[in-house]
Amino acid sequence: MATAAITADRTNYLNQEYGIKSWLLTTDHKRIALLYLLSITFFFFIGGFFALLIRLELLTPAGDLVQSDTYNKLFTMHGQVMVFFFLIPSIPAVLGNFLVPLMIGARDLAFPRINLLSWYLYIIAGVMMLHCILTGGVDTGWTFYTPFSTAFSNTKVIEAGLAIFVAGFSSILTGLNFVVTIHRMRAPGMTWSRLPLFIWAHYATSIIQLLGTPVLAVTLVLVVLERALHLGIFDPTRGGDPLLFQHLFWFYSHPAVYIMILPSMGVVSEIVPCFCRKRIFGYKFVAMSSIGIAVFGFLVWAHHMFVAGISLYSALIFSILSYMVAVPSAIKVFNWTATMYKGSISFATPMLYAFGFIGLFTMGGLTGLFLAALGIDVHVTDTYFVIAHFHYIMVGGAVMGYLGGMHFWWPKISGRMYPEFWGKLAAMIVFIGFNLTFFPQFVLGYLGMPRRYWQYPPEFQVLNVLSTAGSTILAVGYILPMVYFLWSMRYGKIAEENPWGASGLEWMTSSPPPTFNFDHTPEVTWEAYNYENIPAPEEVAVER
């Protein structure tokens, strides 16, 4: 407390202790969240660098920047880094780590040391991945399809596989911590029906992490064993079945899409009521739709294999089940829209991202229905249509939600406000850049441009140039927030306890919060999102 010489501030989690040791050995969930923030941002820019190289190569029809071997490595490592080292840990490990205990009125996660362990596992996996990238990389595609990965590829498959195996355990431990924390650490009066929807979304996400990730782990073990010791479980020349690999791989990797999107939906469910000054429409439906997505998400994996030789009857069933995921997803979109109806909407930066999320996720979701239809899927499988579809979900959905959440909770995390003008500008740039990058890819795919090729017929060039132009705009949109977030840590306006006039326990403690989150364990006597009882702050312009 003696250090607070300039401002008469109280101690918080940032200034309680100083020095590198106090960070690397911390068990405070808020500090671990910041450690994760730094590390996933690092990997985001590595993955983004590969993406820009891919787009640069595709600027011209000929293979001029890189040749096919290098190109194969570029899209493989772009996928692996972005999926396993950025998207999956993004919201849960950063915002979830920071907010889950705060939102339910707990002092920390149930297992603080396991939380730190999960970060160290992530770092070990990250170092292995970096070493793999720097010493040659992998060219199997992020999907590790056998028998190419086990018998033919002469790149560093084993090292990449083990890196992702370790990263998987980091993800499992985060999910385990969340489930136990949400069950056992809620403050008095914080019943299940009073939980913020962010918590429900993270609960559903954790279930997927817990039940899906181990299957990926054991599949990668088998791939590594097959490559190293010639076990032959997936190798058709030895009686194995490559389709079995695809089943096991997608049993995790399809639900993994929901690991990425569900937390984003949780973020949007917090932002929309706050900037509409209304209780969320249909709380229980939004909460249960998260669980519904988690459950249905486990039953649709074979829609990635419609052209891989599965039987027509199982394809039919997986097609119908894939359509059913649209129901809980649509419930969410309709309920956010209904929340806005007759609300006092203010267009602050987090709300712009939430709008972006709703629009882009709807696009991504609807094109997902195209792909769930057996006939259309045969036409567009392995084309840019699929690429555009899942980037609308993962980048348009998950990353938009992540950025929206970072802006929304930045005052709580750092104790400072970011510059609102630059925030809005960056949100616009991201939205425009994103659509310019990926909308042309829908058209390209429908016209028949296949994915994973380093050159293409000249008639596709105009659309590819548009896409590459969009990706540079998108890059500017991603770099801007990083710059002004760093700027605001020193020069930003000091944030109040509750700058947005938001509901939720995390806004009832100081910004940034003290190490133990609350001075007294809060007692909850009100329902979630009781915006009729919270006055809107004056700074946020309320436009009708």
Binding site: L109, V215, A217, G232, F516
Partner: protein, 233 residues
């Protein structure tokens, strides 16, 4: 932690700062272990799934491979593991009653049983190594083909059986080794009188883990050793 503004009612030294009381801490730890075991079920589940499919496709080779395993060593190992589960269960009881000496003895017995299992498993693997039944370039099943002329054996399919045999028992043995390590640490702490009737959660949780590893073997034994033991016509 000393300047924590939160008043802590109980002063059990084992109570971590972020829990309200011992009961909440015990329940959280216990739920954590159950959730972890659920992930373990899925972890082994992938291999059981592969086993199911290949046993359905390559029944002859799976039956022949199963016959080549030593049923007596397998049975003895099953008995050894069940005994070790008994000593763990009794150990948890001893911890609840606060009987330190008994607890240490029971934990040591568990370790001995665990090591005995691993030793017998090692002997079995070594025999397989001598018989060239380890998948890889020196894999050879001419002995099985000669022994069972009545059934058609495809060597590559036979190799899948042994691949799964080594992958599944290997993963199980890895869990056993980790378990023995955990019990070694717990025995040390028990000897140092760390556990009391109020606080002995680690013993309970390690016990849960050990029972889980035991159950995996209870499934592996019939699936690998007892596929078809009827005399061939």
């Amino acid at each position: 932690m000393s300047d924590s503004p939160i008043a802590v009612e109980e002063h059990n030294p084992a109570l971590r700062h972020h829990f309200a009381d011992m009961e909440q801490q015990r329940q959280a730890s216990s739920l954590g272990m159950w959730v972890f075991l659920a992930t373990e079920v899925m972890f082994f589940g992938g291999m059981f799934c592969a086993y199911l499919i290949y046993r359905y496709w390559y029944y002859n080779e799976f039956a022949a491979g199963s016959r080549s395993l030593d049923i007596w060593l397998g049975t003895i190992n099953t008995a050894v593991l069940i005994c070790s589960s008994l000593t763990v269960a009794l150990g948890v009881r001893a911890a609840q009653m606060g009987k330190r000496k008994l607890l240490v003895i029971l934990l040591l017995l568990t370790i001995v049983f665990g090591l005995a299992f691993l030793g017998i498993k090692g002997v079995e693997w070594y025999t397989k190594f001598q018989e060239h039944h380890i998948p890889g370039s020196s894999f050879n099943v001419d002995d099985l083909i000669k022994e069972y002329p009545q059934i058609r054996i495809d060597p590559s399919h036979q190799q899948i059986f042994f691949s799964l045999y080594f992958a599944m028992t290997g993963l199980h043995a890895l869990h056993m080794i980790i378990g023995v390590g955990i019990f070694a640490v717990l025995t040390f702490y028990a000897w140092k009188s760390l556990y009391t009737p109020e606080y002995h959660t680690p013993i309970e949780l390690a016990g849960l883990y050990w029972h889980f590893v035991d159950i995996i073997w209870i499934y592996l034994f019939p699936l690998l050793y007892l596929i078809d033991r009827k005399p061939l016509k």
